[in-house]
């Protein structure tokens, strides 16, 4: 009994267990809402109770969820990154250009894909780090800095291929990322589980997360306390770029096509919505990766529920908009109360 209590206090100290029972509602509000929604679906949506539809849901939510993880980190530092949708688009088209042999002349498609992925991800990371550089070195406000990147990167993606889109149904990238493990587990789902687990671990355990949150809480105080604020910010924006690149890969693998004009447009807003619904305050200083994951799944599940109930898609977006306001409003109420 004693040992059990000790264990609990240990868990509490490390943040695995809520210190205050009332905080459960606050921390897990989005989760509770998600469970309610799932139960609702089991009762009212006939096709829902199968593993396939759950997997389908997770595959659909993959890009938004991956972007949301990066966005959570950026928002926790008190910033915002609206360039992620454009980075998705550029990564997609760049990957296609390399593995199809149009850019470096690699005509073996498997080899091309192996070369393309790290290069595309490196470019995405560099663009993210450039955002970080604008924010730290040149003191540009995050929304302005990433707005510049949003416009320019989208332009570069369009210009490289003159706005053409390309379909590639049988490319290795598609079969690698959209295939299943054990016959039922899509690799995209494995990818998001790994990413969420890694970043949840990062935010729970490492000193880097302390730095990150202290920058978001009070940047000046963090600087005085010896936190390398600039370096932390550049790393965070770089990570957001990297994750946007991964989201871009997941998106073109799912779509088996790369479109520089439309891929990822407006995705940054979906990601921000997921972060907000997940319970990370937009003012910075706090972050919950799991919350963002739940928020993203919640929004996607609403969309699918509404569609499966034969309500038109336009009404779905009205409902989603209202629920986002409601979710954030409820969380704010709890905090002030």
């Amino acid at each position: 009994m004693m040992r059990l209590e000790q264990r609990f206090s240990g868990l509490k100290a490390r943040g695995f267990w809520p210190r205050d029972p009332r905080a459960i509602g606050q921390t897990y509000g989005a989760l509770i809402a998600l469970i309610v929604l799932i139960l609702f679906n089991f009762v009212f949506t006939r096709q829902f109770n199968s593993v396939i539809s759950v997997m389908d849901l997770l595959v659909h939510v993959t890009p938004t969820l991956i972007l949301g993880v990066g966005m959570t980190l950026v928002i926790a530092t008190g910033g915002i990154d609206i360039s992620v949708g454009s980075i998705m688009g550029l990564t997609g088209i760049l990957t296609y250009l390399i593995f199809s042999g149009k850019l470096f002349g690699i005509h073996n498609i498997v080899l091309g894909t192996i070369v393309a992925i790290p290069i595309a991800l490196a470019v995405a990371t560099l663009i993210g780090a450039f955002n970080g550089l604008l924010v730290t070195r040149f003191k540009v406000q995050p929304i302005v800095a990433t707005l510049i990147t949003l416009i320019t990167v989208r332009g570069i993606a369009e210009v490289t291929v003159n706005g053409f889109q390309f379909a590639f149904l049988s490319a290795p990238l598609v079969s690698w990322l959209s295939g299943n493990i054990f016959g039922f587990l899509p690799r995209q789902v494995v990818l998001i589980v790994v990413i969420v687990a890694f970043f949840a671990w990062l935010m729970r355990v490492t000193a880097f997360s302390r730095y990150l949150l202290s920058v978001g809480g009070n940047s000046a105080a963090a600087r005085l306390a010896g936190v390398p604020v600039s370096r932390v910010l550049i790393i965070v924006y770089g990570l957001s770029g990297l994750l946007a690149g991964l989201a871009g890969l997941a998106y073109i693998a799912f779509d088996s096509a790369a479109n520089p004009v439309t891929d990822g447009v407006g995705k940054e807003l979906d990601a921000i919505a997921a972060v907000a619904v997940g319970g990370t305050p937009l003012t910075g200083g706090r972050a919950t990766i799991l919350g963002t994951a739940i928020g993203a799944i919640f929004i996607q599940l609403i969309r699918q529920t509404v569609v499966s109930l034969n309500i038109p898609d336009d009404i779905a977006s009205v409902i989603i908009g209202l629920l986002i306001i409601l979710a954030v409003f409820v969380q704010r109420q709890r905090k002030t109360a």
């Binding site: 510049i148 320019t152 332009g155 937009l282 898609d313 336009d314 977006s317 306001i325 704010r332």
Partner: protein, 360 residues
């Protein structure tokens, strides 16, 4: 301290007749003012240079071209004006593109009742969405970013529903919508006469400058953006002002929707995507800080015109290449690259100037 002492020296020496030495001092004292002017009106100077350059280089760049550029870009200008006020309070309005789309649809649906009826309906819709935004931000205290993002989803959904998921709807061709929309002013004594959207844009900006400079509301907007908590403690009506700012932005977005309907000859539920970004870019180029508290309505007008001129110049340059042979031909996809790089240069210059000012 040094400033005060130098002033003393100049006043006393002015009484005792100006020696060459003091005249030099006076000259030097007046110099920073020119520097300040260059810094503050950098965007205006660039705009004048760009227009002069275009007049010299392009044969077909004349008043008619300027008219068409302005009347096409008036919709962005109106949205940028509303955005300026919102940003000056430290907020943001991401729903403007959605509002414009919705109000263009409403205008098209009501166009059979005549222009002014349709205009009134469309603007009322904008006011309505603005009221919702204002209520959610000011009263429910939901962060502006999330609130207006959410209303954008909502208004787009509503716009699509109104026209049964068709992407767009035509104006009633029998109504006077297009004819009134194409009304020009100054017929006879102005060549070419000025189209209605430009008049609307100029009147809106003149009112905007007046409101910011000479009304209590304008002072409150800047005070709240500068320090919301202090404004609250001083007893300023923070909630009411925040609310009104979003209503203003919604109203102007509604008007922009009417201009969109004129431009498209119909309503579109899918237009207006990314307009909020165009507006934010214009505000940034105009020198308004996104942290709030500092801003200029005139700057936004200049920023908006400058951005539209840059895009227009791409087109003019391409025509020039076609006409004169050789040179650079950049297709329309280069617009974003050029706009982005231009924005980057502006922002870097601004950050450099601010840094220098902070050091002084």
């Amino acid at each position: 301290m040094p400033k005060v002492s130098s002033k003393l020296v100049t006043t006393t020496s002015a009484e005792a007749a100006a020696t060459p030495e003091t005249r030099g001092k006076q000259l030097r004292a007046s110099l920073p003012r020119i520097g300040d002017f260059l810094r503050q009106q950098g965007a205006l100077i660039t705009l004048i240079i760009v227009i002069t350059f275009s007049f010299i280089r392009y044969d077909n760049f004349d008043a008619i071209t300027i008219n068409s550029v302005l009347s096409f870009n008036a919709q962005f200008g109106l949205i940028a004006l509303g955005m300026t006020f919102v940003i000056m309070t430290g907020g943001i309005d991401l729903s403007v593109g959605g509002i414009a789309a919705l109000s263009s649809v409403v205008a098209a649906l009501n166009s059979s009742h005549g222009f002014f009826y349709a205009l009134a309906c469309a603007v009322l819709v904008g006011v309505g969405v603005g009221v919702v935004n204002g209520f959610v931000v000011a009263q429910m205290r939901v962060p502006a970013f999330v609130a207006t993002l959410a209303t954008q989803y909502v208004v787009r959904g509503v716009a699509l529903r109104l026209i049964n998921d068709a992407a767009s709807i035509n104006l009633d061709q029998k109504s006077d919508f297009t004819t009134v929309g194409a009304t020009t002013f100054g017929n006879g004594w102005l060549n070419p006469p000025i189209p209605f959207p430009i008049i609307l844009l100029l009147v809106a900006f003149l009112l905007g400058i007046f409101v910011l400079r000479y009304t209590r509301f304008g002072r409150y907007v800047l005070a709240i953006g500068g320090n919301g908590e202090a404004s609250q403690l001083m007893g300023l009506p923070v909630k009411r002002t925040t609310f009104l700012v979003y209503v203003l932005s919604g109203t102007l977005a509604g008007l922009a929707g009417v201009l969109l309907a004129i431009n498209l000859n119909g309503g579109s539920a899918t237009e207006g995507k990314g307009w909020e970004l165009i507006a934010i870019a214009a505000v940034v180029v105009g020198g308004t800080l996104l942290s709030g508290g500092v801003g200029s309505v005139f700057g936004t007008l200049v920023g908006s015109l400058l951005l539209s001129m840059i895009v227009e110049m791409l087109q003019l340059e391409n025509n020039y290449t076609v006409d004169h042979g050789g040179g650079l031909y950049l297709n329309s996809f280069w617009q974003d690259v050029i706009r982005g790089i231009f924005l980057l240069i502006v922002v870097l210059l601004q950050s450099r100037l601010q840094w220098r000012r902070a050091r002084e």
